[in-house]
């Protein structure tokens, strides 16, 4: 079963996203912060990470940078509230699979996530 990690400090978002993808036979784990996310990635080795950029304790970009610094090339999709040229470019250079704007259209998310998960 493909494994998906959802990182967002909004519990509601995590819950409903988990429910949504579980229905599609995906093993979903959630993290409400950057540090927790890094732990889960290391221990559970998810196939794809849905990473929110703006989080309290540690930003999504920092999580991404740390992962790449540890040579962890897990697939990542960034979720962001603001369109920002610099962030977009940096995350592209760090090899993210997608860049999704909040509030998202669920169908689009489904398409991207399922595409990435079924690719392997």
């Amino acid at each position: 079963m493909p494994k998906l990690l959802i990182v967002d400090d909004e519990i509601d978002v995590c819950d409903f996203a988990k429910h949504f993808f579980t229905k599609r036979n995906i093993e979903v784990s959630v993290a409400s912060g950057g540090r927790e996310a890094l732990n889960i990635i290391e221990t559970q080795k998810p196939d794809l990470v849905l990473l929110d950029i703006r989080m309290e304790e540690m930003t999504g970009m920092e999580v991404l940078r740390q992962l790449r610094a540890q040579n962890n090339n897990v697939k990542v999709i960034m979720v962001t509230g603001v369109e920002d040229e610099g962030t977009l470019k940096e995350s592209q250079s760090l090899g993210v699979k997608g860049y999704i704007h909040k509030p998202l259209v669920l169908e689009e998310l489904e398409k991207i996530v399922m595409g990435e998960l079924l690719e392997k």
Binding site: E10, D12, V13, H19, D84, G86, K102, P103, L104, E107
Partner: protein, 723 residues
């Protein structure tokens, strides 16, 4: 030498009247001044003749000098009458001719026996002439002419008002003093036992009259009389008591205290001379307080009001208070205050109060270039209508006549300038006193103080109002900045809610779709389809809300996040592309002028796009405003954007030839919510504020601005380049 009371008095008389003659004949401006000069010359002649006659040792020489003296005596009433006619501005041609004619006849008679029949010694002091056969007639005519002159003055006094009335009361009083004294000189001719003691009143008379004619702002005559009366009373006691003690009571004192009797008059004169001035001043003050009770009262009120004015911060209220207090306490018909308005270069009516209904319409403004304002600026003194009117009439002065007209336009009795240093800040216009009394010198002093205090208070209030405005603008700007910071946090929060909401609705919808094919009772099916519809609507609203929040976030982003190398050409392309949705770009020429490979800007593309979009939008509006408003046939709208690298920065200029900005608006241009744009169609007043914020705060650049009305506007922007 033969010194006696008579010779001393004639000497003093000669000195004073010759000085007056010299002043009047050299500085006199009108026929009245010159004729009055001739009168004083006659008095001088009498003084010279009388003096030399008085010291003459021989009867022959004395008679000669008496004849010289009488050349003066004969001409005195002639010039007096002539001066009176001129002063009263009345026509007495025939009478004046007759007066001159009798004078000529008597002048011819002077050397003959018909005037003086001989000479004799009187009081064992000096020779005095014996009257001849024509002397009685001469004296009769002399007295009649003087009485006629006095009568004309009196008749005039009842007719006129204002300054002239005060002047006449001076002349009238002076004439009585002078001629009652002067006439004693005739007495020895009839009663050899009466000494010509009154000679000294003649120069007094000349001095008073000359003062009254030359000066227009006279003290109330009752004050002069009171002062003189008190002075004479006090000093007769101060000097009289020791005199009486020394000469009258000498015998009694010797009997009483022996040979040291002289100590009594000495001590008493010392004591009295010491306390005399104090008594005099005390009595004078009490007397004047009583005479001027009313005037003192309002002057005090005004003084108090002056010192309290500085505390009032509201300009409108201050002006209202000034006119109110002045009108009420001085009991005037009306009062108004005009304030200088630099924008229109005129004085604008600030406040006006009239106590009784009238058709008179007070002017709304006084131009700065009028003679009235010029005069006030130059002289810095209050202008009194009655004085100006009288002077205009007496001197036939055109400038004064013009001033009189301007004062009449304001229905003004007095106009007081209000100065701060050299700046004429305002003008206080006072109506007549309801009592009909004139404004006194001390009134004018009080009003000058009031006017200058007013100027200070006005400046205070104006400064306070300006400060309040600036403060309000600053406050608005601050509020904007706070809203900006808040909006950033808020929009993220709202965005996250929307995001969650979208997830919740989307997931629920997804579940419904998955279970749709499951068989279920029709009513449940209908319910589920309702819920499906509702969730779809929620998703739509989330999407719309998301777009609004995105728009907000655009304005509030900051910091170095998202900085990259920005190519100016690409930036301008994107900005024009953005602008074309709002304005028609084919309405003006676009010139882009810079070298092909200029360094890249270190900046945030989206924010800079916002900046140039705003500049293009503004330029377009300015050019279209000029096009539609001014209707110039040859006008070709053009927007030029050029860039020059300058060390670590890039200098970009955005120049349009639109309507430009008026000078007074330039400073406010970067203030949030300030807009010069017309109508409601556009202009939130935020554009330039955002530009400055993006360029200076976010990019560490600099934005400068240059605009001239009807010429156009130039924005100079300095942005850092990538190292």
């Amino acid at each position: 030498m033969n010194w006696n009371l008579f010779t001393i008095s004639t000497l003093i008389l000669t000195i004073t009247s010759s000085i007056l003659t010299a002043i009047l004949l050299s500085f006199g401006k009108t026929p009245l001044h010159r004729v009055w000069g001739l009168y004083n010359l006659s008095v001088t002649l009498w003084g010279v003749g009388g003096f030399f006659a008085g010291i003459s040792r021989s009867p022959e020489s004395a008679l000669f000098w008496w004849r010289i003296a009488h050349l003066g005596v004969v001409t005195i009433p002639i010039f007096l009458f002539h001066a009176t006619v001129l002063f009263c501005n009345i026509k007495r041609y025939l009478l004046l001719t007759l007066v001159y004619l009798q004078g000529i006849i008597f002048i011819i008679l002077i050397p003959t026996n018909m005037f003086f029949s001989g000479i004799h010694l009187i009081f064992s002091q000096f020779y005095f002439p014996l009257r001849g056969s024509s002397y009685n007639l001469f004296l009769l005519l002399w007295i009649l002419i003087v009485i006629k002159a006095q009568y004309e003055l009196f008749a005039q006094y009842r007719k006129v008002l204002g300054v002239r009335r005060t002047q006449i009361s001076y002349l009238f009083t002076a004439l009585i003093i002078g001629f009652l004294g002067g006439i004693t000189n005739f007495l020895p001719a009839y009663m050899p036992t009466v000494y010509p003691f009154g000679n000294l009143s003649i120069p007094l008379y000349g001095i008073i009259v000359t003062y009254a004619i030359l000066r227009y702002r006279l003290l109330d005559i009752s004050i002069i009389i009171t002062r003189t009366g008190i002075f004479i009373a006090v000093y007769s006691i101060v000097l009289g008591i020791p005199f009486v003690l020394a000469f009258g009571w000498q015998e009694k004192l010797i009997n009483l205290i022996g040979h040291n009797w002289w100590l009594v008059p000495l001590i008493s004169s010392t004591v009295l001379a010491t306390v005399g001035p104090f008594i005099y001043l005390y009595i004078q003050k009490r007397a004047e307080d009583a005479l001027l009770k009313e005037q003192r009262k309002y002057q005090n009120t005004l003084r108090q009001a002056s010192s309290g004015m500085g505390r009032i911060k509201d300009l409108r209220r201050l002006l209202q208070l000034i006119v109110h207090i002045v009108t009420r306490t001085v009991n005037l018909e009306h009062t108004s205050v005009y304030l200088y308005n630099p924008a229109n270069k005129n004085f604008v009516l600030g406040s006006y109060r009239r106590r009784k209904e009238s058709d008179f319409k007070i002017p709304e403004a006084i131009a700065r270039e009028t003679p009235l304002i010029q005069h006030l600026t130059d002289s810095r003194d209050p202008l009194v209508y009655e004085e100006i009117k009288q002077q205009a009439q007496d001197f036939g002065d055109r400038n004064r006549a013009q001033l009189e007209l301007s004062l009449r336009d304001l229905d003004a009795a007095v106009v007081v300038p209000s100065f701060i240093e050299d700046r004429l800040l305002g003008v206080i216009v006072l109506g007549r006193k309801k009592s009909g009394k004139l404004f006194s010198e001390s009134d004018l002093v009080v009003f000058t103080i009031l006017a200058n205090q007013t100027a200070l208070a006005i400046e205070n209030a104006q400064f306070y109002e300006d400060m309040k405005k600036t403060h309000e603008q600053l406050f608005k700007a601050e509020k904007m900045a706070t809203i900006g910071t808040m909006a950033d946090g808020l929009s993220h929060q709202i965005n996250n809610r929307l995001h969650a909401l979208g997830f919740i609705a989307g997931d629920a919808l997804d579940s419904i779709k998955m279970k749709k094919e499951t068989p279920m009772p029709p009513e449940i099916k209908e319910l589920i389809s309702d819920i499906e519809y509702a969730l779809g609507k929620v998703q739509d609203n989330v999407k719309q809300g998301g777009e609004i929040v995105q728009g907000l976030l655009k304005y509030t982003r900051k910091g170095e996040e998202g900085f990259s190398a920005v190519d100016l050409d690409k930036l301008l392309d994107a900005s024009f592309e953005m602008a074309q949705y709002k304005v028609k770009l084919n309405q003006f020429a676009i010139v882009r002028d810079h070298l092909p490979n200029i360094p890249k800007i270190k900046g945030n593309f989206t924010q800079l796009q916002e900046v140039f979009f705003n500049l293009i939008d503004n330029a377009h509006d300015a050019m279209m405003q000029r096009k539609t408003e001014k209707n110039e046939p040859d006008y070709k709208a053009q927007l030029k954007i050029s860039a020059i690298p300058n060390g670590k920065s890039l200098q970009i200029q955005v120049v349009d030839n639109g309507i430009g900005v008026k000078k007074e608006d330039v400073d406010k241009l970067f203030t949030p919510f300030f807009t010069t744009k017309l109508s409601s169609k556009k202009g939130t007043g935020l554009g330039l504020y955002v530009i400055r914020k993006i360029i200076e705060e976010n990019h560490g650049g600099h934005v400068d601005f240059n605009s001239e009305y009807m010429k156009g506007t130039k924005f100079s922007i300095e942005l850092p380049v990538l190292a």
